[in-house]
Amino acid sequence: MMVRNRSLLRRILTVDLPVALILVFTLSPYLWMALTSVTLESNLFTQGPSLVGATLENYWRLFSTVGFGANLLDSFIVAGGTVIVGLALAVPAAYAFSRFRFRGRRLLMLQFLVINMFPLVLLILPLFILMKNLGLVDTYAALIVANSTVAIPFSVWMMTSYIDGIPRSLDEAAMTDGCTRFGALFKVVLPLCTPGIIATGVYIFITAWNEYLYALTLGGRSVKPITVAIQTLIGEYQVEWGLLTAGGIVGAMPATLLFLVIQKRLIAGMTAGAVKG
């Protein structure tokens, strides 16, 4: 009994306590923001953020006077559009990479990998000129295209690793049973990698939802995603921190919730590529 108690104490000191400290470091900025967002603006500078007299006033102002609803819709359209474009292009490409061996395969795969390594700033300047010449600045299309530069290569890699995980013998069996290759693709491979497609789609959605610099440069007036809207809450002379933190909580909510829901699958897919190294 003594020994068990001592080892429990030891575990608490060497594991539970340090983990708790790390979680405090990880979560306290977020919790501080949440606490600020429920404090009345007028109390913020006199008493500081506090749960006493908590109110949803800042959230109410966010939607009624600032018009945050329209920004949420913009973000939703841009992120949703990017998911559709990204998956439509990435799934067939990933199937080809996974199931065929052909000349130039390695080079093409590395080509997709290298895109994510290039600095965004190298791409953002010419993309702005391109959109300006096409008259697409401040449209959904511009933002969807810009986000696709990140989404396509990433999802090609993620989907390739998912499809690699589905045994080839399954599609071969379907084909010997008389399925065409497309039949095997639609009846066997796609249903089996639905979880992978969902995880990839969610990942694209999160990155597009969180994206800021493209949204600022290529959008901003008639198309104003949530990230840009939050930033513009910083006034010319004073910052309304209550309103701003409420915006932060609302803006971060969809991505955070989605992330927590599919976390396990997402992490498995993301680390699969890199961990082999």
Binding site: W32, R105, L110, F118, L213, I230, A274, V275
Partner: protein
């Protein structure tokens, strides 16, 4: 030659992969590689957006101008500092977190889920959240440090040129360490348990087990994650842009931020592109190292 020995591959099998790949390849050519070529092309011209008619070939003038530009060198120095502090800090914190989360304890699942939250937050939200924490009048950091008597008067963390860069580095460390933790945790789980059992039967101490089994087992993951992180941290400008915009003065300028600000507020796309291209060339060494590692895994 080989066609006579091996059965010929049917045409459909040769064409099909290309058909399936071509949409993705063509789109990335159009929206990534073509614009990049255009960026290089712009960097060789005088191109200021409020005089769009003037697009004069100037050769390498923008690049030689950059080499004589003191802000270029300041930004480069900050970029090196920025990577050299942020990435090791993220890695050490990530390693410690992963080792802890690999232990057995009742709320491990919850802890693993919560630790990744910073990673899912939009960088604008992260930046503004930390601006609020660092606020010189009402910020919670100054408040805490004052109460603990660590400092005697409030420090304007982001307005002081001596502390601004380090304040942002702390923010980025906070944002990025969960990535390392997740990668390293996956690496830890791939080390066979039997190694540790054998070592403890032989009487190896915890530390020796860590040094001789865990670290070598993690070497590959650490290398890959570090390279990826160096590239991402070097590229990341959104947090700095929102927190200080490069200021006060030039004290938080990094090279990509300088390129972005030059084009965005100065509208000087020629010089801005030249800065972006120079930065890309400097980064290329790390990119090639990473690609060589990743290339080995393509079966």
């Amino acid at each position: 030659m080989s066609a006579t020995t091996a059965p010929p591959v049917p045409l459909s099998r040769r064409v099909l992969p290309l058909v399936m790949l071509s949409p993705a390849v063509l789109v990335t050519l159009a929206i990534v590689f073509l614009p990049m070529v255009q960026a290089v092309w712009m960097s060789l011209h005088d191109y200021v957006l409020f005089r769009p008619k003037n697009f004069d070939w100037v050769g390498l003038k923008n690049f030689t101008a950059a080499l004589q530009d003191p802000v270029f060198w300041t930004s480069l120095r900050h970029t090196v500092l920025w990577i050299a502090i942020t990435v090791p800090a993220q890695m050490l914190l990530g390693l410690a977190t992963a080792l802890l989360l690999n232990q057995e304890f009742p709320w491990r699942g919850l802890a693993r889920a919560l630790v990744i939250i910073p990673w899912a937050l939009p960088s604008v939200v992260i930046a503004l959240m930390w601006v609020w924490i660092y606020d010189s009048n009402y910020g919670v950091l100054n408040d805490l440090l004052l109460r603990l008597n660590v400092i005697e008067s409030s420090i304007p963390w982001l307005a002081n040129p001596d502390t601004a860069l380090y304040a942002i580095i702390l923010t980025l460390t906070w944002q990025g360490f969960p990535f390392f933790a997740v990668m390293i945790l996956a690496g830890l789980q791939s080390i066979p348990k039997s190694y540790y059992e054998a070592a403890s039967i032989d009487g190896a101490s915890q530390f020796r087990q860590f040094w001789h089994i865990t670290l070598p087992g993690l070497a590959g993951v650490l290398m890959t994650a570090t390279l990826l992180r160096v590239i991402w941290v070097a590229n990341s400008i959104d947090v700095i842009f929102v927190m200080t915009g490069g200021g006060p003065g030039y004290s938080t300028y990094t090279l990509p931020l300088y390129a972005f600000v030059k084009a965005r507020t100065g509208l000087d796309y020629g010089y801005g592109s030249a800065l972006a291209v120079s930065f890309t060339i400097l980064l290329l060494g790390f990119v090639i190292l990473y690609l060589r590692r990743a290339g080995r895994n393509i079966g």
